[in-house]
Symmetry: C2
Subunit: 266 residues, 2 copies
């Protein structure tokens, strides 16, 4: 289970202020706290600063977060220019977040992924939008994975994001999302699945319970990377437990290691 820390995102006011002021200390503290809580990657996103500033800001975030934590990053922007700047500032193998089946985005992001030998988050959508009744999500997802493979990516470098909808908007979509991951996982052994957790609970109260339960169900359907707040120890402990229950942690060794590392004492 790859834990990708979500906290360095300018959607949070304190991060936005830190990016605007180039306050490295705040970003460094978030980076170290997430690493110490067990994050394997840190997502960095400054999408809410102005578009002109985003490449330079993202490069600064990359240097700051990676410099403090020593972790590889998940470089998060819809903007190819920002991704390019972030990747240039990054040391080692990053995850590019994200590519999709949208033609313009695919054409602009693929060369960056290949140039830097990165992994990539692949959003299960294309120019028609997010799959619905008219064009099945499986077909959209399979076409995108096939295209990435044909363009030379290794299956293990692809993190497919099934774009879960909110439970409040479309309760049936939850089960469909789980089935989509299970089916794509059967079709493409080695394909990774990633999701954020917050969309699923949008509009509902006390969202963390929905997010946590969805994470458990996701793991049982093949989810093996989660963009989350690694400081939610109840959630990360559930993820370790879910992997063991789903048969993906032989002899529960990682669960027991997490216990020894003090990560289950919540």
């Amino acid at each position: 289970m790859l834990l990708i820390g979500e906290r360095i995102n300018t959607a949070r006011d304190e991060i936005r202020d830190a990016v605007v002021a180039r306050d490295a200390g705040t970003v460094e503290a978030e980076a170290v706290a997430q690493r110490d809580a067990g994050a394997h990657y840190l997502d960095v996103n400054c999408g809410s600063v102005t578009m002109e500033e985003e490449p330079e800001s993202l490069a600064w975030l990359v240097r700051t977060a990676q410099g403090a934590s020593g972790l590889p990053l998940c470089i998060d922007s819809p903007s190819p220019a920002a991704l390019a700047a972030g990747l240039a500032a990054h040391d080692g193998k990053a995850i590019v977040n994200s590519i999709s089946g949208e033609e313009a985005r695919y054409a602009a992001v693929l060369p960056l992924v290949k140039e830097h030998g990165s992994s990539v988050v692949a959003l299960g959508m294309d120019d028609r939008g997010i799959p619905g009744g008219g064009f099945p999500a499986f077909d959209v997802g399979a076409a995108l994975v096939e295209r990435l493979l044909a363009d030379g990516l290794a299956v293990g470098d692809i993190y497919f994001d099934p774009l879960v909808r909110s439970l409040g908007t479309d309760p049936e979509a939850i089960i469909a999302t789980l089935e989509l991951m299970a089916r794509l996982g059967e079709g493409y052994p080695g394909l990774h699945f990633v999701t954020g957790l917050s969309n699923v609970s949008y509009g509902l109260p006390e969202r963390r319970h929905i997010n946590r339960a969805f994470a458990v169900l996701g793991v049982a359907s093949g989810l093996d990377a989660v963009i989350l707040d690694p400081l939610d120890g109840v959630l990360t402990a559930l993820l370790f437990a879910s992997e063991a229950l789903a048969g993906r942690d032989r002899f529960s060794l990682r669960y027991i290691q997490a216990y020894k590392d003090g990560r289950l004492a919540v």
Copy 2:
């Protein structure tokens, strides 16, 4: 989701002492605390007092727990004599815990269930023991359900317990248990599924995480009654969330009601 409180059980030292001393206050406090935490039924079990005393002790527990809480009870004993005494002391419709496909137990417990118009926990085992490779769990479970139906029970009065094994002993059995519930649920619409949560984590550290994750997975496979500690608010909140995610809580109404009742503030 039926929440069955597990705390009045002489496997806990304080309950054992209370039963031996006929200390009603301790039992009453546990009964009220569980009711106030949202339990719908209370399991009462005094299996660890001596066998001669069990019928009288169980009847006392039934009167005490039900008198204090006003809740119906899940009367828990392998002993038909104790079940008979407990049922005689109970007001309203109880759940008898439990019957199984073992011939002697079936023959002794069925008349009690019918006489009192109770619901019943049906353990998925027979005289060969708990199903394993030699005799499939589905066949054992289906045979038991068929027999109970043929003997006049309504399907909605049967709570099938798939007897989950511990993750540490048999990791593959977890997925098999989930599949068993899903398959029996398809075969017998209206059949309930119940389980305790503690077996699954036996031998592992910080067991609550395993128990909670298993509960979430169980709900997605049809589990609709859980014998649990209702004072574990993280667990009960996860159960509400799981039912909504599994499509068993239309418009998330019960989740939202749980929020309004203050049950999600953990």
